[in-house]
């Protein structure tokens, strides 16, 4: 995939990671004690295995976000942006087109000369074949 498409996909990945991070954190976070005046809530009947995995989740997900951002930076550094902008590119295209025309004409000339020589050789060969056929005496 070309680098600009990779960059675009990386931007989408970062967006998806951000959305998933906040979504799952909001969904799975355990309740927080707001004030010492309120009594402790009753013990939850949910599966405690969820809590064991949950404390790692913010770290893992934020690590994934940071890694995605670093990859984006690496891709941006790898962009082959030539300096000079649009005018320099257009100038180069005009130069290359002129050179292409010259080389094309040279190629055309060589091709025509080669085809002429081929035709000559073919004529001479057919004449030689005819003469050698005529010279051969029937037994």
């Amino acid at each position: 995939m070309d680098i600009i498409s990779q960059l675009q996909e990386q931007v989408s990945t970062i967006a998806a990671l951000a959305v998933n991070t906040y979504g799952s954190l909001q969904r799975d976070a355990p309740p927080v004690r707001l004030s010492p005046n309120y009594p402790e809530p009753p013990p939850p009947t949910t599966v405690p295995a969820e809590d064991a995995n949950f404390s790692d989740q913010p770290k893992l997900m934020s690590q994934a976000l940071v890694d995605a951002a670093k990859k984006f930076d690496a891709l941006v550094t790898a962009l082959p942006l030539s300096e000079g902008g649009e005018e320099a590119q257009l100038r180069r295209i005009a130069e290359l087109q002129a050179e292409n025309d010259i080389v094309g004409q040279e190629l055309q000339k060589q091709l025509e000369a080669a085809e002429n020589e081929l035709k000559q050789v073919q004529e001479l060969f057919s004449k030689a074949a005819d003469s050698s056929l005529n010279l051969k005496k029937p037994d």
């Binding site: 600009i4 931007v11 906040y22 951002a69 941006v76 942006l81 000369a113 020589e117």
Partner: protein, 168 residues
């Protein structure tokens, strides 16, 4: 514009009844469309230019001007994006009801990033064209060399054959 589920084909086919005998008796195909046209009720244009952010009603975060330093702007937008995502976490903890503004800021940064990447595409197209022209020039030069070499070889073989025949 009359619409139906299964419209009949356009009636122009009758004009081409004698096309095989006389190609001039039938009308020429219409010229290519220029400008804007309507297709299935939607407006399209033949002039494909990337609309600027202002035209889409989005604030532009990177500096305007003829030459934008894409790498620098993309990196700084990336840094700002990370910062905003972190601040969103903070807001969700401290002032959860004010998330909307921060989410809007984050989506603004994303729109700017995508617009920057889209404006790189014409540059990429020109670079591809340059590369293709260079390849074509190289191939043509190679072909010229090949033809020269073959012609010289053919001349050499003919001279050898001539010398052999003369020596016979």
């Amino acid at each position: 514009m009359a619409t139906s589920t299964f419209p009949p084909p356009p009636p122009f086919y009758r004009l081409y009844k004698d096309y095989i005998q006389d190609p001039q008796s039938a009308p020429e195909p219409p010229p290519p469309i220029q400008g804007t046209y309507v297709l299935f009720g939607a407006n399209y244009t033949t002039d494909d230019a990337l609309p600027s952010l202002e035209e889409q009603g989005v604030r532009q975060l990177y500096p305007k001007g003829p030459n934008v330093d894409f790498k620098k702007e993309l990196k700084s937008l990336n840094r700002e994006l990370q910062l905003h995502i972190l601040e969103l976490a903070d807001i969700l903890v401290e002032r959860p009801s004010q998330y909307a503004r921060k989410v809007e800021d984050i989506s603004l940064i994303f729109k700017n990033m995508h617009h920057l990447l889209n404006s790189l595409r014409p540059h990429q197209a020109r670079a591809t064209l340059i590369h293709m022209l260079e390849l074509q020039i190289q191939r043509r030069k190679q072909a010229v060399e090949d033809i020269k070499r073959r012609r010289e070889e053919a001349q050499r073989i003919l001279k050898e054959a001539l010398a052999k025949l003369d020596g016979q």
